[in-house]
């Protein structure tokens, strides 16, 4: 299928998310849409998939203008989408998810599950996407869930597949497998629109690259272009891909974790006997595919999740079983994974968010009554120091951009005189400028002689920040290595291969 977008424009109020975007995807082609977070990629895909209606512009399929009013219509036109957050019903089986909306029917409106299962088996074989049709989605690993998403699109006879940031949740090896699948689909004549902000993947797989920035197409590139060329095209200026750090000169041990066992929400072991140390002036970066226990580990460290066994020691003090409030008071700083859910109260003011976890501490309160003047003074100082862009300190946190919301959290935590910083996915979804800023703050924190644990599923970030890198797989640390270790070896650790490393 040939797909062409002509002058697509989409506005939200006074904000233009897509501005006159045009691009063309040929049959059998892997077309990569490159742009950083917030550039308007997802908006464009939602327009294409009928979830949003464009204000201007038109969509052409095989040269014919085709308005797409809802996603059902997109599917009927042969457009399939693999969403970044899978559109799968967790309690349904694979078969139920695949047929949903397009069920083969028997009498009395009953669903013909036998026909459905047959269909899935056939497609599985044809495209080498093995999966059990009767398995329940929530019991499947993420990689298999993605396979179901692809199967779902194929079962609707998709000729064009949109893959929206499909690699975010995969190990390097799973990414390779996905790329093989993409290649074989393209070879079978399917068109693929691959949305990402990761330069390496683009270079590895794309036939054509379209780069967008601030909602506009800023150029096209060949896969042979260098990474720094692509990066400066994507960001609009030269980007320093590495972080400059002062020399690694670790001090005494600050945080000591021994044989930690933690359960997840379902009562299953999520962290299974994890031990590590972090020293003063050191960043320990924790790598791993999401869902291997990192979230639970962090929650246990900051007191949000009970520890079953093992111990956590901060500067010689046992903090294993402290409540969140006590853990924060003991000198832990926490930058949570999901900042809008755990880090901020969006409906409250920037000033209140800046004292969110110290509202009772002097000078912000005395004998149970808040000192609003001190809160205000604190907010004005931090907004200035951390360059938080807001109309007013009384503006609700929801009015800030993602980068500035994260700056509020970083400012709050780093201004508290903490002994140790725990940051989880600190730059997810941020634009490059904000990423650079946050990284700089972390490094300054380290250079002041503090310890940090930074959890990230972005390998680039791990390699850039970590003085040492720990890799987590299925609740265990599969290895602690040096940042000079090759990506491939870290990838193997992320897939669960253990390692014996001398000297670490």
């Amino acid at each position: 299928m040939q797909l062409e977008l002509r002058g697509i424009t989409k506005r939200f109020g006074s904000f233009t998310a897509n501005d006159q975007i045009s691009l063309k995807v040929e049959p059998g082609q892997i077309h990569s849409l490159l742009g950083e977070n917030g550039a308007g990629k997802s908006t464009l895909m939602n327009v294409l998939f009928g979830l949003l209606r464009p204000d201007e512009g038109e969509i052409l399929i095989d040269g014919v203008v085709t308005p797409i009013n809802d996603s059902g219509e997109a599917v009927r036109r042969g457009i399939g989408m693999v969403h970044q957050h899978f559109m799968l019903v967790p309690v349904f089986t694979v078969a139920e998810n695949v047929v949903l909306g397009f069920e083969p029917k028997k009498s009395f409106d009953r669903i013909d599950y036998r026909a459905a299962t047959e269909d899935i088996r056939r497609l599985s074989q044809e495209f080498h996407l093995e999966v059990d049709p009767d398995a329940v989605i929530e019991n499947l690993p993420v990689g298999l869930q993605q396979r179901v998403e692809i199967l779902k699109a194929l079962s609707h006879d998709a000729e064009l597949l949109i893959l929206d940031e499909p690699t975010a949740v995969l190990t390097p090896q799973e990414i390779d497998a996905l790329m093989d699948i993409m290649r074989s689909l393209a070879a079978a004549g399917k068109s693929i629109l691959f949305i990402t902000h990761k330069l390496k993947e683009v270079k590895a797989i794309a036939d054509v690259i379209t780069v967008i920035r601030h909602g506009q197409v800023v150029g096209t590139a060949e896969p042979s272009a260098s990474e720094s060329e692509l990066a400066s095209l994507m960001v609009g200026r030269d980007v320093q891909l590495t972080v400059t750090k002062s020399t690694y000169d670790p001090g005494d041990e600050v945080l000591e974790v021994r044989d930690l066992v933690v359960l997840d929400d379902r009562g299953l072991v999520a962290v299974n006997g994890v031990s590590f140390d972090v020293r003063a002036g050191e960043v320990l970066a924790l790598a791993g595919v999401q869902g291997n226990g990192q979230t639970e580990l962090v929650e246990a460290l900051v007191g949000m999740r009970p520890v079953v066994s093992g111990s956590i020691t901060l500067k010689g003090r046992d903090i294993t079983h402290l409540s969140p409030r006590d853990a924060l008071d003991a000198g832990l700083g926490h930058i949570p994974e999901d900042r809008q859910r755990d880090g901020l109260v969006l409906s409250m003011s920037v000033a209140d968010n800046l004292v969110l976890n110290t509202p009772r501490r002097a000078p912000f309160a005395r004998r149970g009554t808040r000192n609003l003047a001190a809160v205000k003074e604190n907010a004005q100082r931090l907004v200035r120091e951390f360059d938080i862009r807001t109309t007013s300190i009384e503006a609700p946190a929801s009015s800030l951009s993602g980068g500035n919301q994260q700056k509020v959290i970083v400012a709050r935590e780093l201004s508290r005189n903490i002994e140790f910083l725990v940051a989880s996915q600190p730059t997810r979804g941020l634009d490059v400028g904000s990423i650079e800023y946050v990284h700089r703050q972390f490094i300054e924190h380290r250079n002041r002689g503090n310890g940090s644990l930074i959890v990230s599923s972005e390998l680039d970030e791990v390699l850039a920040l970590g003085d040492r890198i720990a890799v987590m797989f299925e609740g265990r640390i599969s290895g602690i290595v040096d940042p000079t270790t090759s990506r491939e070896d870290i990838g193997l650790l992320m897939a669960g291969h253990t390692t014996e490393v001398a000297g670490v």
Partner: protein, 432 residues
């Protein structure tokens, strides 16, 4: 650096036991010990009572079962010990499944011990016998109303809308049902009217919840408040000056040939009003539709993950509208059915049955079949709490009246968190 390729196997066995399970076990143990001490060891006056089975309303029953004299005191002691044993089992083994069914069994056993105790307790007019069949027939009316209510809840909540206005739909159905039944003398028209008014209330709820994303519980509660005061208002404005509109007549029973003659079961299941049979049909239809058909798959998808449903072209808002209106209609019929068992409309006489139906829905894990089981437990409780008054129990009738509500609280406290509601239940759906 050497990489040794061994892939470790993940240990993913559940090792945690919910503390809540133990709480439930303790509650069960307390209930068991209470009935053991009070109903078993206490009240030593008379230790026997008669169980009779011949129904009062089936005059020409072709069968007659003699009364059974049981040593009620010993029965109470044994049943209490069974409850305690169940509690101990739950406490020690902490089974991952089937805790609440055990709790339900314990609750029913408790009620039976209470009944036996009541039957032999001294009082001005000692009863000394328990008519099992008429108790079952009597509670079947309450069970029926609760099934209508929780079935309505199943329809709405499976699609992701919390319908807390069931109570209001009962009231409206009962009011209009009485008016139509009184003027036409025909319960068929009354049922239609009940369905229409219930559906309209559902439409209002859906309108506020779906179009304006209002808080569904607030809208539901406010609708109940409005409807119950409106019913009181109209009762004074219409029924008081024109009593002909609220003459009251009971729906007559339709005995199914042969089946209704079966001892005990016959009068309970096969000699009922048309509403009862309609309820059974509805349970079957809703079960089938929800779990076997395309429509049902769409409904469940909408209730679990509306965005996923929307991406395959399912119109989330339309599915929700349809289900909330249909659910409202079912609750409206339930109101008429309630009125048909009471004879006429009275202000406030649904006394929270709609909310108990909601608890039955949760207890039944959002399944029609589960709702039936839960409704039987709750219905028996409600009926007995009123019925026990006739046994001259030396307990204030007001304390007896608290029992169904307290059991509801216990069940809800024990259940939430253990059962999983539809993931999008009560969440507003925003199309972006």
């Amino acid at each position: 650096m050497s990489l040794v390729s061994t892939t470790p196997v993940a240990t993913t066995t559940p090792i945690i036991k919910s503390a809540r399970t133990r709480v439930i076990a303790v509650i069960m143990a307390v209930i068991g010990l209470f009935s053991f001490v009070v109903f078993g060891l206490g009240s030593t006056v008379r230790s026997h009572a008669a169980l009779s089975f011949t129904p009062l309303n089936l005059v020409n029953a072709p069968w007659h079962l003699g009364s059974l004299t049981v040593a009620t005191r010993w029965t109470d002691i044994v049943l209490s010990l069974i409850i305690v044993a169940l509690a101990a089992e739950v406490f020690i083994r902490q089974p991952s499944r089937g805790v609440m069914p055990r709790f339900g069994i314990a609750a029913i056993l408790f009620l039976v011990t209470l009944l036996f105790w009541a039957a032999r307790t001294d009082g001005p007019s000692q009863v000394n016998s328990v008519n099992v069949t008429s108790i079952l027939v009597g509670c079947s009316a309450t069970v029926m109303v609760l099934v209508f209510g929780s079935l309505s809840g199943v329809m709405c909540e499976r699609a992701g809308v919390v319908n807390i206005a069931i109570e209001g739909q009962f009231i409206a159905g009962a009011f209009l049902g009485s008016m139509i039944a009184s003027t036409t003398g025909n319960f068929f028209y009354a049922a239609i009217a009940g369905a229409v008014v219930g559906g309209l209330i559902g439409l209002v709820l859906a309108f506020f919840a779906l179009r304006y994303q209002s808080d569904q519980i607030i809208v539901g509660i406010v609708l109940v408040t409005m409807l119950s005061s409106l019913s009181s208002y109209l009762n004074l404005q219409v029924f008081t000056p024109f009593p002909n509109f609220n003459t009251g007549n009971l729906a007559s029973n339709l005995a199914i040939p042969i089946l209704s003659k079966i001892p005990i079961i016959g009068p309970v299941l096969f000699n009922q009003s048309a509403f009862f049979y309609l309820m059974i049909v509805l349970v079957a239809v809703v079960s089938f539709a929800l779990f076997k058909t395309r429509y049902g798959l769409h409904v469940r998808a909408v209730g679990e993950h509306p965005r996923a449903a929307a991406t395959v072209g399912i119109n989330v808002v339309r599915v929700r509208y349809i289900n909330v209106v249909l659910g409202g209609a079912i609750a409206g019929i339930g109101g008429v059915a309630f009125m048909a068992t009471q004879g006429q409309f009275q202000v406030g006489y649904t006394s929270g049955l709609g909310y108990i139906a909601l608890a039955a829905l949760i207890f039944g894990r959002w399944r029609p079949s589960g709702a039936v089981v839960a409704s039987i437990i709750f219905g028996l409780t409600v009926y007995l709490s009123y019925e026990l008054v006739t046994y001259q129990v030396p307990v204030s009738l007001y304390f007896l009246q608290m029992i169904p509500y307290l059991i509801t609280i216990g069940v809800v406290a024990g259940l939430i968190g253990r059962v999983r509601p539809p993931a999008a239940d009560g969440q507003p759906y925003l199309r972006d």
